[in-house]
């Protein structure tokens, strides 16, 4: 830790680098959950999907030697989880929030079960692009060494915003999310749209998991996720179901998550566990600030039932 070279500037730099590093899974999970929730359904099981995606990606990368094949495999696995969730939730009397909790436990259990043999072997990592090549300072080089999935996530954010606002697919999704009856009147099958939206959401979440196991922290173990899948659901509410909002909120969360390690790297060690709780506390504060007991959150899809 040569933070003495740039002194206390190491803290904001480390937080920036950490924000980019830590936010990437949030970006993918929250974009996926945005797609699902825009269709009028909530999937709380993304935590399980994320961990299962992390395991699948790591296992495939170990076996084939290609991290990108791992990401593709994780997407397929995540889409299957989404399909199961979407398929069950179309039945009457089934509570999508409860199914989400069950799918979370199922996904975690299955990932731990199938992932046991892959805790030891090392998988190839996803690549990163060294944007900090111009600087002689190792801290700046490390901070600007940006992973490719972050850039893809940023591109997807704006692509999704454009699709939602300007295309027929986006319109269909928004109509289904705002009113099941209106969708039926337009000749759209709301069940099918929600099924596809949940599957796509699952695939996105699994990419977030693949990032965890194949880039940062970059290994598969049973404690790989610390609730990113669930925090992303809260983050989507904060972001008002807007992809660009999700991206910015993810960066904010990433920064909060990087606070503890950044302070530790310059020698502040007391209260380490409390800094570790910062992203959760921040999520909670944001949820309290953005919710209201009487009116629905502005921008919320009409068919979504967050507080039944």
């Amino acid at each position: 830790m040569e933070s003495t070279a740039i002194g206390l500037w190491g803290i904001p730099l480390a937080i920036l680098a950490g924000a980019i590093r830590v936010s990437t899974p949030f970006i993918f999970v929250s974009l996926g959950e945005t797609i699902t929730e825009r269709s009028g359904r909530i999937n709380l099981g993304l935590e399980g999907t994320l961990v299962f995606g992390a395991m699948t990606a790591y296992a495939i990368a170990v076996v084939t030697g290609s991290p990108w094949l791992g990401v593709a495999g994780a997407m397929a696995a995540g889409a299957s989880f989404g399909l199961i969730h979407g398929f069950i939730c179309r039945w009457p009397k089934v509570n999508d929030i409860a199914i989400g909790i069950a799918m979370m436990q199922f996904g975690l259990g299955l990932a731990f079960f199938l992932g046991k043999p892959y805790i030891q072997p090392a998988a190839p990592h996803l690549p990163s692009i060294p944007f900090g090549f111009w600087s002689g300072l190792p801290q700046i080089q490390a901070a600007l060494d940006i992973n490719v999935l972050f850039l893809i996530g940023a591109a997807l954010t704006f692509a999704l915003r454009w699709v939602l606002a300007n295309t027929r697919i986006g319109l269909t999704l928004r109509v289904v999310g705002d009113s099941t009856d209106a969708a039926r009147a337009m000749g759209i099958d709301p069940h099918r749209v929600r099924l596809v939206a949940t599957a796509v959401g699952g695939a996105f979440a699994a990419v977030g998991g693949a990032y965890l196991s194949l880039y940062y922290p970059g290994a598969w173990n049973e404690g790989i996720s610390s609730g990113q899948g669930l925090m992303a659901v809260a983050l989507v509410i904060f972001a008002r179901w807007n992809p660009v909002g999700c991206f910015l909120a993810a960066l904010l969360f990433g920064g909060a998550g990087a606070l503890g390690p950044a302070l530790q790297s310059v020698g502040v060690t007391s209260g380490y566990y409390l800094f570790y709780a910062a992203p959760y506390a921040l999520t909670l504060v944001i949820m309290i600030a953005t919710s209201s007991p009487n009116r629905p959150v502005p921008g919320m899809p009409g068919a979504l039932s967050l507080t039944k």
């Binding site: 709380l44 039945w91 299955l110 659901v233 209201s292 007991p293």
Partner: protein, 376 residues
């Protein structure tokens, strides 16, 4: 539970006798969750068996080991009961708010805080009081900690409209961080080097085993709490008001029911149950508060509560069953070479299938009480 439903065909409808009609109506109403629940468990077991078969292992051997490890001998039964003790209480942490239509899943955090509060209260109290009042005192401390924590979730839900499922889980992560901070910092026993712990309780202040058994008193406390919760829900006006408020909040408010106080009260009670589970883990199993408190009891409790359909009496057999399945994990790992997560896969499968089978309610004619209500 072995009443054959096939016998309840139209031909068997009792004639005219109103008591028999009432009995049939009552049976139909009560039988529906039992039959659908057992059917769902069967479907889940079949799916799980297919999964095990696909791995080239014998599901029959696995179920046999599950029985051997969980229930075959007095030793394994005692082990299962000990494991069921915290599940009884963490399941109540889900089942009580469920009466109001709330899905609270933060029991793990309330358990952790309860454990730390118990350990923190134990040291000053143990100097002043004999064991039994001390245990009562630390139980109170644990229940207060857990109750305030989950009560906040209910308050946020009612007064701010914050989704209780997400907030309770976030609060759970925060609680675990607070616990880690306390046992690594101010409450740490300097003698605990590798595994940070609080100062251990004096040996004669620990909760002992039940007479004649190797199961600690926590199990009896859990059973008693389940029975009390059942009485609260089914026989008191508060329980009735909670059910009305859970069915339709607007209607309950129009009726003048104190919905806010009910929500905060029930969530606080739920948290108190989880906190008590933490106190029992500290005073009966661990001897001090440490990282071992985070053993997933809070999450397994969610499964138990949903399996029991949030009925506190049904929680008792379900918790013992799940405790037994948990207890058999080690045996399955040793004898079949399967990972210890096998039981998690089974539990997850059962969880999903049982919730999916909620869709079957009201679809089977023999269970419709109106069929039996006809003027016979």
């Amino acid at each position: 539970m072995t009443i054959g439903i096939d016998n309840l065909s139209e031909a068997a409808v009792p004639a005219a006798g109103s008591w028999a009609g009432h009995l049939a109506e009552w049976t139909a109403r009560r039988l529906e969750p039992v039959v659908i629940g057992l059917g769902a468990i069967l479907i889940g077991l079949v799916l799980f068996s297919l999964f095990i078969l696909a791995l080239g292992k014998s599901p029959l051997l696995l179920f046999q080991l599950m029985y051997t490890g969980g229930f075959a001998s007095w030793f394994s039964i005692q082990n299962s009961l000990s494991r069921a003790a915290p599940l009884l209480l963490t399941a109540l942490c889900v089942a009580l708010p469920a009466r109001l239509g709330l899905v609270v899943i933060g029991g793990e955090g309330a358990l952790a805080l309860g454990g730390v509060a118990a350990a923190a209260a134990a040291l000053p109290l143990a100097h002043l009081l004999p064991p039994v009042p001390t245990l009562a005192g630390i139980a109170l401390a644990a229940m207060l900690a857990g109750g305030i924590w989950i009560g906040c979730v209910g308050a946020l839900r009612h007064y701010r409209g914050v989704n209780e499922t997400i907030s309770s889980l976030l609060m759970s992560y925060i609680a675990i961080a607070v616990m880690n901070q306390l046992i690594e910092g101010p409450l740490r026993d300097p003698a605990s080097l590798n595994k940070p712990s609080t100062l251990p309780l004096p040996a004669d202040y620990l909760i002992g085993p039940l007479p004649g058994m190797d199961v600690h008193w926590g199990f009896a406390i859990g059973i008693a709490t389940c029975v009390l919760s059942y009485l609260l829900i089914e026989t008191t006006t508060w329980g009735f008001a909670a059910r009305v408020a859970g069915g339709n909040t607007r209607a309950a408010e129009v009726q003048g029911l104190p919905v806010g106080r009910l929500i905060v009260g029930f969530t606080a009670l739920a948290g108190a149950c989880a906190g008590l589970a933490g106190m029992i883990e500290v005073a009966a199993v661990q001897g001090s508060a440490n990282g071992s408190l985070i053993a997933g009891y809070g999450y397994t409790g969610i499964l138990v509560a949903f399996l029991a359909r949030h009925n506190p009496l049904a929680i008792i057999p379900v918790a013992i069953l799940i405790g037994g399945i948990d207890a058999s994990g080690g045996l399955i790992q040793r004898r079949m070479g399967l990972p210890d997560a096998t039981v998690l896969v089974l539990q997850g499968t059962l969880f999903v299938v049982i919730l999916a089978c909620e869709t079957l309610y009201g679809r089977f004619k023999p269970f419709n009480p109106d069929l039996w209500k006809r003027d016979l």
